[in-house]
Amino acid sequence: MAPPHRPTSPTPARLFLIFAQIGLTSFGGGLSAWMLRAFVRERAWLSEEEFLNGLGIAQALPGVNVTNMGIWIGYRLCGTAGALASVTAVVIPPAILMVLIAIAFAWLERFPITRPALDGAAAAAIGLSAWMGITAARRVPRRVIPLAIMAASFAAVAWLHIPLLWVVLAGGSASVALEYIRLGNER
């Protein structure tokens, strides 16, 4: 299962640094895309499939996706110490920065360049979300049921504005049950 080429191996300290960096620089949200970039593309510590499996679970469970992913990836790579290092890094430094930004905000708003600079960064950040969605969609098996579930969950959230709780509960349990039956028939 291990990727053939590992330039560096994961340690709790490295996890802390990577997650702190993601937490502090991920303007515009979509932190899971930054994680996919850092752990799969840049370091190959996880396969794309392992990452997307974790993401599916992190999204279905209550909790912030990012902290869920931090614990999931941290535990998977370095056990309890890894989980603790990752979640601390993804919460505490950005929390401090957030308060500092709130203090600086009133002052920054005076400059006319602030607005367009933020709009541009926000637009590029949407690219992250789009890339992440395309990567995840590419990995969905080309069978009728998974493709229909993907399309239905997109429509439910994007067009019908159904609360996520119901999408996850109804869509998630139907999808998991169908997959369970399919895995049973495979044997």
Binding site: T67, R76, A123, L178
Partner: protein, 175 residues
């Protein structure tokens, strides 16, 4: 210690377990508690804090930290942060432990395989919603598309990508 600190913990800890599919689901309820029930701030102040939380890096649920800080200073920020993150963190930690013990079980593969298409659909929907709320017209949309293409084609890190997007928007906007 400020009595509000305990109240903050009491508000955010239960909300933590309701944040399914990201922090957006509980925003309305936070607003109700903070503005209508406890009268800690006006609706206008709440919206400003929300905008700052969206703009700043890090998880969007750090809005809780900002509210805690606003309501009761350092201890308020700490209590709100612990409240919003701890319950769900314990939950997923327990699950991660169970997961590694039963690797390859049928129920586990069904959960993984079943949830992935759902996650893909929800991420694409998030993108759709974000594009709808994008400010800056066609120029911003063009930058979003260019950024997507760049991410698909290269190994560019997100931070330089956002810097390029920001600079491009400022330059083209000025023309």
């Amino acid at each position: 210690m400020n009595p509000r600190v305990a109240t903050l913990l009491g508000i955010f800890a239960p909300l933590s377990l309701l944040t399914i599919g990201g922090g957006q689901t509980i925003i309305a309820d936070i607003q109700r508690q903070v503005v209508d029930v406890h009268h800690w701030m006006s609706a206008g102040t709440f919206v400003t804090l929300f905008a700052i939380a969206r703009m700043a890096p890090g998880p969007g649920s750090l809005l809780a930290t900002l509210i805690g800080w606003r309501v009761a200073g350092f201890w308020g920020a700490l209590a709100a942060t612990i409240g919003i993150f701890t319950p769900t963190c314990v939950l997923i930690y327990a699950l991660a432990r169970i997961w590694s013990r039963h690797r390859g079980a049928r129920w586990q593969r069904a959960l993984e395989g079943g949830l992935r298409p759902l996650a893909a659909g929800m991420i694409l929907a998030t993108t759709w919603v974000l594009v709808g709320g994008l400010e800056g017209g066609w120029l911003a949309r063009a930058i979003a598309i260019a950024a997507t293409a760049l991410l698909l084609a290269t190994k560019i890190s997100p931070l330089p990508l956002l810097a390029i997007g920001s600079a491009a928007f400022v330059l083209l906007h000025a023309l």
